[in-house]
Amino acid sequence: MDMINILTVFILAIFVGNEIITKVPPTLHTPLMSGSNAISGIAIVGAIISTKVGGELGTWLGMVAVIFATINCVGGFMVTNRMLKMFKRK
């Protein structure tokens, strides 16, 4: 049941994504890409969990994952903000 549940969530999320992303105009495609890229840094959640449950090796892998995912999140959101600031001013 659990498996079916998360599969349902996954499929519905793809439909939602499809729906909202097709509405983004070409002008904003680069910020869309870097912004959604930052969202894929959500792997940081998994990274934090694996520093705890992973044992010695798992902890270190999790630690590297935390660094990678943070680079992805922080860098992604900041650079997107930098770009969008330019689009806002007229």
Partner: protein, 459 residues
């Protein structure tokens, strides 16, 4: 645990609202902020849900990551945005792969490593690792560390085929639990790294928009797969959003070139043969100066500027805006024509021109601008080539035949600025340059525009 899951739902909702607000330049900045708040909520909820977490370790990791990420984000130039996104993709994919690998090592040898878990782990490690190595090659190509030209050797496709078969075989062995030897797992990692490299090196510079979009999508799918491993809705939803976004952009880019995804990824081999046959054509061009260009522009009412990758390379976006403003001051209408695959990533030209303070409503995409060329007096081509090649409309033997192009040749006069007569990425000469109504002004785009600006002022 209930509260944590609730927080993930909240984060996912904020991501969706955030992306939705990216739909308009006016709301986009707040959308990005909303998405980042979603991320913060997800992180805090995760940290708060485990009481035995090593906070110090996590804090150190996050501080290191923040410093690196922020440095990149502050220092990067707008022209370098494609490689920036490429490398961030790589880190995202790498993080997903590492999390899945960590799960594998933890559950290895226990009953927890059932078919579903091991299958999703393999998927996550494979896609995440491939994204990681592929993104670094893409970064290297865009930054100039690796040749931007397609790197192809005989047997490349066969090698790729064997690697895919190897990954599927090993992955199946591990998944169904026949053999979960750690060496097999390492084998998957090694093959995924190699495959990321061999799939990216044969792709040339102008096809980069497709590759970056695709890698973006992969980084999302990897995060989703990791979500399945951890049974975590937050990761699954966010990953799916990013995966969908990347795929949609990939599709738009492929349509912009009238090529299938398979053709972009595996097409570099065929391209070489096709270009040889078209090299024979000689084109006589009229070379001219900025003085003359200024006089042509003086007589015009409607001017359309067509930026390409050459503009980005020369960092000429500010100079272009100055010329455009001068022309507007002289009472002329100025528009910008943006081809979907101009530059090295989706929307690359838009970001550059936004940086130079060009109002976004002056930037027109392919469908909107093409009818405008009919009554356009002067089209100024700045470092664009294949996207304005009329051969795409009529020459069935051309490698770019069928690609939707900007109909610049319908303008009364076309001024083309290029560094040299070197053909564009597709390796074909552009017949536009030899047209009756075309004038070539050779030189670096920035220098040319700066001189043109002076010439216009002196009129």
């Amino acid at each position: 645990m209930e509260y944590t899951n609730l927080a993930y739902v909240a984060a996912a909702v904020l991501f969706i609202i955030g992306i939705k607000r990216l739909g308009s330049p006016k709301t986009a900045q707040s959308g990005n902020a909303i998405a980042s708040i979603g991320m913060l909520i997800a992180i805090i909820a995760t940290v708060a849900s485990f009481d035995l977490l090593d906070f110090k370790l996590i804090a150190i990791g996050m501080i290191i990551g923040s410093i690196i990420g922020a440095t990149f984000a502050i220092r990067v130039q707008m022209t370098q945005m494609p490689q920036m996104v490429a490398i961030f993709n790589g880190f995202g994919g790498g993080a997903s792969a590492l999390v899945a690998a960590s799960e594998f090592f933890t559950k290895h040898g226990t009953a927890d490593l059932n078919t579903f878990i091991s299958g999703t782990i393999i998927l996550s490690v494979f896609i995440g690792t491939l994204t990681f190595s592929g993104s670094f090659i893409a970064f290297g190509k865009l930054q100039g560390f690796v040749s931007g030209k397609p790197i192809v050797f005989s047997g490349l496709q066969i090698l790729n085929g064997f690697m895919v078969i190897g990954i599927v075989l090993i992955g199946t062995l591990i998944t169904i639990g026949v053999n979960q030897d750690l060496n097999l797992f390492y084998g998957i990692v090694v093959l995924a790294v190699l495959l990321g490299v061999t799939l990216t090196i044969p792709i040339g510079g102008a096809d980069m928009p497709v590759v970056i979009s695709l890698l973006n999508s992969y980084s999302g799918i990897a995060a989703s797969a990791t979500g399945f491993v951890l049974m975590n809705n937050g990761l699954i939803i966010s990953g799916a959003l990013v995966g969908a976004s990347g795929l949609i952009l990939t599709n738009i880019m492929c349509k912009g070139m009238n090529r299938s995804l398979a053709n972009v990824i595996f097409g570099a081999v065929g391209l070489e043969q096709e270009t040889l046959s078209t090299d024979g054509k000689q084109i006589n061009v009229k070379s001219s100066t900025t003085d003359e260009a200024a006089m042509i522009l003086d007589a015009a009412d409607k001017v359309i500027i067509v930026p390409g990758y050459g503009l980005a390379v020369a960092q000429a976006q500010h100079a272009a805006r100055e010329v455009a403003e001068q022309l507007e001051l002289m009472g002329k209408t100025v528009l910008y024509a943006i081809h979907p695959v101009a530059g090295r990533m989706p929307g690359h030209m838009n970001v550059l021109l936004a940086e130079a303070n060009v109002p976004y409503d002056k930037l027109k995409d392919l469908g909107d601008i093409n009818p405008e060329f009919e009554d356009c007096d002067v089209a100024i081509i700045l470092g664009a080539n294949d996207v304005v090649n009329p051969a795409a409309r009529h020459d069935t033997s051309s490698p770019i035949y069928g690609m939707p192009i900007l109909d610049v040749d319908k303008s009364r006069t076309v001024i083309v600025n290029k560094r040299t007569m070197n053909p564009g990425f597709a390796g074909i000469q552009n017949e536009l340059f030899g047209f009756e109504n075309t004038v070539m002004v050779f030189g670096d785009a920035k220098e040319m525009l700066t001189t043109l600006y002076k010439d216009l002022k002196e009129l």
